[in-house]
């Protein structure tokens, strides 16, 4: 494997005493000095700044761009308007998941895709393999930096740096070519924490200036940095899937409960359509549920879930939840067994711990 890459914010993380780890080939802070639990609270109560430059960016342009995307992804991109964003899984023909992505529509012939860091190269190869018509595909990932400003104070912080009225920007909408503190940015009202917030993209050259400006503007709002650890816990609390856990080659978006992002009836045939229709018709042998521990014990990925001696599934993500002060997990379970039992057991080392099956998400912010 090649040497881990540094994002344009690497020096900022060192100055803030971030604990650096190698995540999917990127050197990023897993947490800063306050620790993961406080960083989660900061995000929910005020605001937190995340470096998410590891995310990949791919541009899709050309007169056949829409048609191409319609074939490539499972959601219905024809419903997407200019300056709006759509979440979509991307599937193989067997319904297994290549990646889950965000699609930013600049106009009918121009889209900006955001993909998972670990999948960027695989995605780009898959996108190329599926090319059709007049489409210009570009992997912009090496040129782009990205920060996520998340939490209820985010709008007030960012508004100081731009003349764009942010209150008018709705969820899953964006503005391109926006001047933020003198840096040309794409700003979207999106995030991976379950809070209000923004994701801001800029070319690497402007990254340091952007970070400093956001940091300065955040001071009177008690903005704090947050690392990958907090990000993972926040998305688990908000029950957002993470590729490699709730989604993967052997898992379909229907299993992960993402039905509303799967346009089975789409007019343009798409990769995975037949397999997903078949799965929807025949029913699922495993489906994603929430678990809440009834005894103290940390449910973690890979642990098996049982009813008595019978194994009924496995945990895909689990953690202590600082927001709920509970131990929670997402788990793929046999729906038939869940129908008969509200209470299940999680096998942790050589003991079974009682847990309750719950609806997802665990956490939803008050609007």
């Amino acid at each position: 494997m090649s040497e881990a890459k540094k994002t344009p914010f690497y020096e900022k993380h060192l100055a803030l005493e971030g604990k650096i780890v190698d995540y999917s080939g990127w050197l990023l802070p897993v947490q800063y000095t306050k620790g993961l639990v406080e960083e989660v609270h900061d995000t929910r109560q005020r605001a937190a700044l995340f470096d998410v430059s590891h995310m990949g960016e791919i541009s899709v342009k050309g007169k056949d761009a829409l048609n191409y995307l319609q074939k490539l992804v499972v959601n219905d991109v024809s419903r997407l308007k200019d300056k709006a964003i759509m979440y979509s899984p991307v599937c193989y023909s067997d319904g297994g998941v290549v990646d889950d992505i965000l699609i930013y529509r600049l106009n009918a012939d121009n889209y900006f895709l955001v993909v998972n860091a670990a999948n960027t190269d695989k995605d780009f190869a898959w996108f190329k393999e599926n090319l059709l018509g007049e489409v210009d595909l570009n992997n912009l990932s090496p040129e782009y930096a990205q920060i996520a400003l998340q939490g209820p104070e985010s709008e007030k912080i960012l508004q100081q740096l731009t003349s764009e009225p942010l209150a008018a920007m709705k969820n899953y909408h964006f503005k391109a070519d926006l001047d933020v503190a003198g840096v040309n940015c794409i700003v979207s009202r999106t995030g991976y924490t379950g809070e209000d917030g923004f994701e801001i993209y800029c070319l690497n050259e402007g990254a340091s200036k952007l970070w400093d400006a956001v940091w300065e503007a955040g001071k009177k709002h008690q903005l704090n940095p947050a690392g990958l650890g907090a990000r993972d816990v926040l998305r688990l609390e908000a029950s957002m899937p993470l590729y490699g856990h709730e989604l993967g080659k052997e898992l379909t978006p229907l299993m992960a409960g993402l039905d509303r992002f799967v346009a089975l009836e789409k007019e343009v045939p798409f990769n995975g359509q037949e397999a997903l229709i078949k799965q929807k018709t025949e029913g699922l042998s495993k489906k994603l549920y929430g678990l809440e521990m009834l005894e103290r014990g940390v449910p973690r990925e890979g642990y098996s879930v049982k009813v008595g001696e019978k194994e009924i599934g496995w945990i895909s993500s689990g953690s202590f939840s600082p927001t709920l002060d509970k131990f929670i997990a997402m788990a793929f379970l046999d729906p038939e067994a869940v129908g008969k039992h509200d209470e299940v057991q999680v096998a942790i080392r050589n003991r079974s711990y009682r847990a309750r099956v719950t609806k997802l998400p665990f956490y939803r912010r008050k609007k």
Binding site: Q31, G35, V37, G229, V233
Partner: protein
């Protein structure tokens, strides 16, 4: 980064400490290890009367992100466990050498103490670990 290290304790390379009082030893996790793990949220204690072996896992300490074994510094029989940690595992973060002892054991073989480090040796060991 400065880590707390106490006089009078013996240390392992896996960052456990033991405080000897007669033939009894109290065992816990070092400041260095709790800092690396982050916020501790769960502790699995050994059973009373369990026979633990030097260098073998005797308890499990879990932070939000990680699971870590606590390896017994010495061999012996467990005489007492710290049940406070079941409800307040975060004591390991706040007071690793005091309130957050994990278990006590009846020392089986005093000669095993020779395999452990004293404060000065452990200090040096940590510096080397940090340089890695």
């Amino acid at each position: 980064m400065d880590y707390k290290i106490m006089d009078g304790l013996k240390y392992t390379k896996k960052h456990e400490w033991i405080r000897q009082e007669g033939n009894i030893g109290a065992v816990g996790l070092c400041d260095y290890a709790q800092d690396k793990l982050g916020e501790i949220v769960f502790v699995e204690l050994p059973d009373i009367d369990a026979e633990v072996e030097a260098g073998k896992s005797a308890a499990v300490i879990e932070s939000v992100k990680a699971v870590a074994d606590l390896y017994s510094p010495l061999s012996g029989k467990v005489t007492e466990v710290n049940e406070e940690l079941l409800d307040q595992p975060e004591l390991i973060n706040s007071d690793p050498y005091g309130e957050a002892w994990v278990y006590k054991l009846e020392i089986k073989d005093e000669s095993e103490l020779a395999n452990l480090m004293d404060k000065a040796e452990y200090e040096k060991f940590i510096v080397e670990e940090e340089e890695k």
